[in-house]
């Protein structure tokens, strides 16, 4: 109890406890410092160690929140002077002239197009494949194989993006060349497959970039989808089976409706990753001064690859500020996409459980 009672007990003469099973300890148990008795009104006694530990833990939580705030703030503060010095319309211009801080003209419209186009190509390709893999792993694959197979898919995420860049630019692009030319020739009447600002056969375009990005976001979407599909209540599945449904009908009527919104949330996470991917695209996309033709055979730069390419120019605050402005737009977009993804995911988790 209180210190005094305790020490009384500990120092009780041995005779009194002679018949006990457990002898009293020879030395008193060292006690940790107890916070001094609290002033009246305050009820809880909290130990010094607990107080310190709790403060440190809470502080670290606050620190994480502060980091995100600081990211937004620092990027904003550094971007504003550059935006003031900008001679072009930041949102609508396609130029990127930042070398001379006295005479800067930069805008993000072309960056936005390449970023969005390559991410969407990636998403369109990756979503059905990821959904298929997730269904295969959770509903079809034998239990013993499901784990190693899932591990194999996860290995895709362990390959660094610079390696994907090399592979995309040097190995995949030449293989894709005839495909790209064929697509361009036969479907060229659809604007999105029309001639881009570089020849369709060049390989260093949104088409190649999108395919490589699709491979890169595949494990992300698959991971989330696998988790939500696996959570389908067994009673629902068994209910459908008891009605004589085939496996496909079970998937279509229970697993898919149950996991759909979680799957979409996972796709949003993948989109966030694709929007911010840097090095693979820096390696794959060729840089051209000609504006985009709004085709998947365009080349150019994304927000992220533009920043990476510009790192050689980072020698004065205004120039850096221009790149930071682009980075800020990227930060805000990925923040929004990720927030929506989490919202969808948590909504689907709450609605179903």
């Amino acid at each position: 109890m209180t210190e005094s009672t305790n020490s009384e007990r500990r120092s009780a003469p041995p005779g009194e406890t002679g018949n006990t099973l457990v002898e009293p300890p020879e030395t008193p148990v060292p006690e940790e410092p107890v916070t001094p008795p609290s002033e009246p009104g305050e009820k809880k006694v909290v130990r010094l160690g607990d107080r310190v530990f709790q403060s440190v833990a809470t502080g670290s939580g606050i620190f994480v929140v502060a980091i995100i705030a600081a990211i937004g703030l620092f990027l904003l503060v550094r971007a504003i002077p550059a935006l003031h010095a900008n001679e072009a319309n930041f949102l609508l211009s396609g130029q990127w002239r930042t070398g001379d801080p006295e005479n800067m003209a930069f805008g993000i419209i072309d960056l936005a197009w390449i970023t969005v186009a390559s991410s969407l190509v990636a998403l369109i390709l990756a979503m059905p494949v990821a959904g298929g893999i997730a269904l295969f792993l959770t509903q079809y694959a034998p239990k013993v194989l499901a784990r190693p197979f899932a591990y194999v898919v996860d290995l895709l995420a362990a390959v660094p993006s610079v390696i994907y860049g090399l592979w995309g630019a040097l190995v995949l692009a030449p293989v894709l060349k005839p495909v790209a030319v064929r697509l361009n020739e036969t479907l060229g009447w659809i604007p999105i497959f029309a001639d881009g600002n570089v020849p369709a056969g060049s390989g260093s375009n949104v088409f190649t970039a999108g395919i490589v990005l699709a491979v890169m976001i595949l494990p992300i979407i698959t991971g989330v989808a696998r988790e939500v599909f696996a959570r389908t209540p067994a009673v629902q599945i068994e209910g459908a089976l008891a009605l004589g449904a085939t496996k496909w009908e079970v998937v279509r009527t229970t697993v898919w409706p149950f996991g759909r919104s979680g799957f979409v949330g996972g796709a949003m996470l993948g989109l966030g990753r694709a929007l911010g991917e840097t090095v693979a695209l820096t390696v794959i996309l060729s840089y051209t001064f000609e504006g985009p033709h709004y085709s998947i055979f365009d080349a150019g730069a994304t927000f992220a690859s533009r920043i990476a390419l510009g790192s050689a120019e980072f020698n004065n605050n205004l120039t850096v500020g221009a790149y930071i402005a682009a980075g800020l737009v990227l930060f805000i977009s990925t923040f929004a996409v990720n927030a929506i993804a989490r919202w969808i995911e948590s909504g689907s988790a709450r609605g179903k459980e």
């Binding site: 109890m1 209180t2 210190e3 009672t5 305790n6 007990r9 009780a12 406890t17 018949n19 006990t20 099973l21 457990v22 002898e23 009293p24 300890p25 020879e26 030395t27 148990v29 060292p30 006690e31 940790e32 107890v34 916070t35 008795p37 609290s38 009246p40 305050e42 009820k43 006694v45 130990r47």
Partner: protein
């Protein structure tokens, strides 16, 4: 060592839910008090309030007082950690620390309080394990993990762990409910021995067990669904089982409880 407990007007809450109402009872030193009653009537909740484990649950609240030899464990300025060192507890499911050896499990309370003296730890290990009737079974494998023991052995290990810190009172929440009959008997024998030195409060579902091991018995009940649990009556075990003063007690004991 052993001390008396006086519980006065104890009201216990989980957030807004009033779990137990107005419990007043005495627990005598060096005796066994059994708590019996239907599931959900608040036996565990009362038991956990005695060593301030109740407040570990977020949102929980305590009103009333628990006096240990006249001193209120809920008085302002009393450190709950000290209370728990003085009033030990054994849980329904044996919960040895999985990362620790048998030896380290026994002396966990001392070691975590900073005792480093090897010789003393050795002594306490042996004494506590003997006290829990486990010494002969484990003395050759003190360095093996506690999780490798059988369920009954694990529960006795937990009792050894609890008595190693030399508490004044030992609380046991259905300590045998997960055990086979043989292990149960071993624990009941142990309780009979431990009561020479400790004040023991035991929650049990098993009425024969209450009759076998306890000196006095408290019967708790739920007056109606959604209402807080209450203490119906407390008395000498023999009297409660042969001649209870309340009808509800008699119904429960004779199995006529709805």
């Amino acid at each position: 060592m052993a001390k008396r407990l006086d519980i006065k007007d104890l009201n216990l809450y989980y957030n807004k839910f009033h779990a137990v109402r107005d419990v007043t009872l005495q627990v005598h030193a060096r005796s066994v008090t059994a708590f019996i009653g239907p599931s959900g009537c608040g036996k565990s909740t009362v038991l956990r309030a005695l060593n301030r484990m109740h407040e570990v649950v977020p949102g929980s609240r305590v009103e009333g007082s628990v006096l240990l030899d006249g001193e209120n464990v809920y008085a302002p300025g009393v450190d709950p950690v000290q209370v728990r060192r003085t009033i030990g507890m054994v849980f329904q499911r044996a919960n040895p620390f999985p990362t620790m050896s048998i030896r380290d499990n026994v002396v966990a309370g001392l070691k975590l309080a900073g005792v480093k003296d090897k010789k003393r730890l050795e002594e306490v290990t042996e004494r506590s394990l003997r006290g829990a009737n486990l010494w002969e079974e484990v003395k050759d494998r003190l360095n093996k993990p506690g999780g490798g023991l059988s369920g009954g052995q694990q529960q006795r290990l937990c009792i050894a762990r609890a008595i190693a810190v030399q508490p004044d009172v030992l609380l046991m929440d259905e300590p045998c409910s997960a055990l086979d009959p043989i292990s149960t008997l071993a624990i009941e024998d142990l309780i009979a021995e431990l009561k020479k030195d400790y004040t023991i409060v035991i929650v049990t579902h098993n009425m024969q067990q209450a009759a076998r091991v306890s000196d006095q018995t408290a019967f708790f009940n739920l007056p109606a669904v959604g209402e807080p649990g209450q203490l119906v009556e407390i008395g000498e075990t023999g009297k409660i089982f042969s001649n209870p003063s309340q009808k509800a007690t008699e119904d429960y004991i004779s199995g006529r409880f709805g």
